[in-house]
Symmetry: C2
Subunit: 512 residues, 2 copies
Amino acid sequence: MIKSITKNPLYPIANPKSIAFFGASNNLMVMGSFILDSLLDFGYDGAVYPVHLKEPVVQNLKAYRSVADLPEIPDLAVIVVPTKVASQILEECGRKGIRHAVMVTAGFNEVGGEGVRMGRELVEIANRYGIRFLGPNCIGVTNPYIRLNSTALKFEGRPGFIGMASQSGSFVTQMFNYLRRYGLGFSTAFSVGNEANVDIVDCMEYFAACPHTRVITLYIEGIRRGEAFVKTARAIVPHKPIVAFYVGGTETGRRAGLSHTGAMAGPDPIYDGIFQQSGVIRASSIIEMFDFCWTLGALPEAAGTNVAVQTHSGGPGAIAADACGRAGLDLPLFSAETLTGLKEYIPHTGSIGNPVDITFSKDPQSFWYNIPNLLLQDRNVDILMMYFLEAIEMMERHMTRFMGWSPEKAREEGLRIIGAQADAIASLMKHHGKPIVGYTFRSLEEPFIQELYRRGIPVFPGPERAVRALEAMIRYKAIRAEMLSGDEREENGDSSSQVATGRYGRQVSVNL
Amino acid sequence: MIKSITKNPLYPIANPKSIAFFGASNNLMVMGSFILDSLLDFGYDGAVYPVHLKEPVVQNLKAYRSVADLPEIPDLAVIVVPTKVASQILEECGRKGIRHAVMVTAGFNEVGGEGVRMGRELVEIANRYGIRFLGPNCIGVTNPYIRLNSTALKFEGRPGFIGMASQSGSFVTQMFNYLRRYGLGFSTAFSVGNEANVDIVDCMEYFAACPHTRVITLYIEGIRRGEAFVKTARAIVPHKPIVAFYVGGTETGRRAGLSHTGAMAGPDPIYDGIFQQSGVIRASSIIEMFDFCWTLGALPEAAGTNVAVQTHSGGPGAIAADACGRAGLDLPLFSAETLTGLKEYIPHTGSIGNPVDITFSKDPQSFWYNIPNLLLQDRNVDILMMYFLEAIEMMERHMTRFMGWSPEKAREEGLRIIGAQADAIASLMKHHGKPIVGYTFRSLEEPFIQELYRRGIPVFPGPERAVRALEAMIRYKAIRAEMLSGDEREENGDSSSQVATGRYGRQVSVNL
C-alpha cells in the first residue's frame, strides 16, 4: 500500500491542477457537453482546455484543435469521445505527456466483440505511456473540496466524509441530490467503470490516506483482484470502516452487472466470505449503504447495545422497541436515579419505563433537554433513540391561532425554537459522548430535521433503518477490536501477514 | 357480519351528524382543546356542542354547562376529560340518550391498578345504556369524506382508499402528513385504544362495507378476539385485501405494547399463524404496511411475476434486477418483436436486454412513451418497473443555460413537460392494464414524482421497497385465488364454515 496520498495514482485524477477536455462542443445535446457544463458550473478553478477539431470556442472557453497545441501539459485528460477514436485520443495524450485520464467513453468490454479488442488497445497505450486512467465506461470523479465534478449531473451537494468507489457512475453522480437531502456528502467519489487500469482496490488505498474520508464505501458488481481486495481492506479497516453493497448475488443481478460493466459476479456466499474475511460491512441496498456510512461517520462510538427510546406516543415507542429487539439491541431498565428524575417530567398517563413515553406534556422543553439528559447520564444506557414529531407548522399553528401572532412572527419564532432544540440535542451528544439517532414519519426535508442534520444528528424515516444503521456501528466496533487483537497476536509470533496499524491516524468519529 | 354499513356500530362514530364535546376549553394547552381545534379546522359541518362547567363560549362556539342542556341528542360524544370523571360523563351521555362515544381519556387498563377498575366501570355504563364507544386511551377517528377529524393533529391529507384500524393513535393522526406526501389518504381511520367496547374486528367489518375503502390495514399490538378475527378476515379477504403490522413479536415490543394499550401480545409464530389462517398479509414496518396498501389499492392486478425493468443507467438497472431476483420475481427475455422495436430507440452503448438501459438518449421522449409501450405490450411482461431520474431542475438548467430562456418560462415549460410525461405513463398503465411502479433516489416531493402520484403511479425510494410492495400484490392474488377455490369446494360439501362471497362487490383495483 502507498502511504502518501500524493503518491497514489488517483491523486492527480482527484486533484488535477489543469484539465484537457475531449468531446465537449457547443452542441449541447451530447454527453461531453453536459459534463463540461457540470465541471464549469461547480466552479473548478484550475485551467480547462477543450480540444475540438472545428470550434475555436467551446462553452466560452478557448478551444484547441489538438492536444499537441495546448500551452502546458495538463494533469488530467477527460475523454468523452466516440468509442472508435478513444484509443487515438489516449495515444495523443500520452505523446503530449499527460499521465492521467478519465475515460468516460463506453462501448468496450461491456458490449463484447470488437469492444473487447478496443478495450485491450486502451490498456496497451496506457501501459506504453505510463498513463493511469479511470474507466472506460465511467462517469468520472468528484472532489467537492476542490469544486471538481467531471460527471454528467450538476453538483448539488456539499463536501462530506464519504469516500466512494463505484462500479456504477449513477451511484456517484445521481447521489449528489440524495446525500444533500440528508446533510451528507462525498469526500471524493470515483466512478471506476470497467476498471481497465484503475480499480476499486486503488480507490480504497486512496481513501485510506485521504484526510477528508471517515468512511469508505463501495458499490460492487464484481471484484477483479480478490486477494488484493482482502489484503488492502484488512489493512484499512482497523482505522476506517468500509461499507460495501454487492449487487451480483442473484442470477438476475449477475446478468445485469455483466451487461453493465462486464464484471464477473459470483454467488452471494462467496462475496459474503470475501467481505467477512476483509472486515467489510455489507449493506443490502444503496440506501442502507449510505445509512451505514452516516452512523459510522457522524456518531461517537457506542459502548454497548443498550438503547433508551424516548417518544411522546406509545405506538412509535412500541415499533422502536420491536425493531431493537429484532436486531439484538437491548432496552435496559433505567437506574433508580433516572426513574426518580423522569417522574418530574412525565404525567401519570405516560411511561417512565423504556420506551419513555411522555404523552402530552405541558412542558415541551423537557423533551429536548431534561429527559434526554437524564437518559444519557444513566450508566445502563449506551445509545439514545428519539422519536421526532415536531414540525414547525404545528408551532406556527399554535402561535397564530391561539396566541394571535402574525404568520411572519410565528415563523421567525418557530425557527428560533427549532434551532434551540437542535442545539440542545447536539450539545447533549457532545457532552455525554453517546450516539443519538432520531426517527420520524414527517418529511426529512422539514426545517427541524434539516437543523438536526446540520448538527450531525442522523434522523431516519421509521425506526427500522435507524436500528440497522446502529447495528452497523456496533458490528464495526467488534470487527475492529477483533482485527486489532489479531494484530497483537501476530506481532508476538508470525509477522509475515502483519497488518500495519497507525498509518492513517485515528478515525475522527464525532461530527460536532 | 353486518352487511349494511349503516347498521355497523361504527357508522355513527365515523359519520356523526352532531357531536357533544367534553374537555375542550379556551385554555389551549390541554389535549381536549387541541382536538376541538382539529375538528373545527378541518371544517366538519355538523353541529358541535362543547360542554363546559364554567365557560359560556369555547373556541367561538356556544358551550353548555351540562350534556343535559343540549338542544338535541348528538350522534356522538367526544370525551377528553380527566380519568376520574370519565365514567360520570359517559353516564350523563347515556342518560341524555347518546349512544356513541369516542373516549380519548387515558389512565385505564394500560396503567393497571385502579385504572383497571375504572375501565370496567366504563364498560358497565356503556352496556347499561347500549353505548358503543372507541377507546379509552385512543385518539379518535377521521373520515376525510365528511371532513371529520377528532384527533390531536390538524388534518393535512386528502380522502383516500386506506381503511385503518390502529391500536396506536399515532399511526392515525401522525400519518396524515406521511400519506399526503405519497398522494395517499385514509378512507376512514379508527384509533381503537384499549378496545374496551369496540375492537379491530368491528372496524374490519365496517371497512368491508365501506365503499371508499379498497384496502384494510391494521396496526396490532395484540388481538383480543382471535377466533372472530380469523372468521371476519376470511370473509373479507376474497373481496378486499387486509394488511397488518404486528409489533408485539419480540420481548421488547411485547413489553412496550403492554404499557401502551394493555394488549397481551404473543410470540411471532402465533401471529404468523393467525395471519396466514386469515389471509392477512403481514408487513414488517409501518412504512411497508402503507407501501403494501399502495400497490394493492392503486394498481391493476399483475398476471404473473415477470418484470421488465427500464432505466437510463446500468447501476440502477442492476440493483432492481438484484432486488427482483431476491424476491422471486423474474426478469424475462423479451420477444423478438420487442427487441426489434427497442433497437430503434436505444444506442449501441445501452442495452436492449432486461433491464433495458437506454443510457444517454438524444430523444428523451422515447423513455416516456415508446419504450414502455413496447415493454408493456410484450406478452412475456406482467409488470413494468421504471427508474426515474428526471428532475424539473435538470430541464430548467438546460432551458436557461443552453437555450437562453428566462427562469419563469423554463419553469412553466418544465411543468408542462412533466405533466405530459406523467400523463403518458398513466395512460399506458390504463391502456395495457398492467402495473407500473417507479423507483428513484431523488426527493419524492419533487414535482415530477408528485405528478405521478396524482395519477396513481407509485414511486418508491429505491427498488427494494418497490419489489416488496409488488410481492404483496402477487401474494394477495394467490391468497384470494386459494380462498375462492376453497369456497367452491365447501359449497359442494360441508357448508357450515362457508365463506360468503360477493357481499361487498368487486375490489376496485385501478386508480385512474
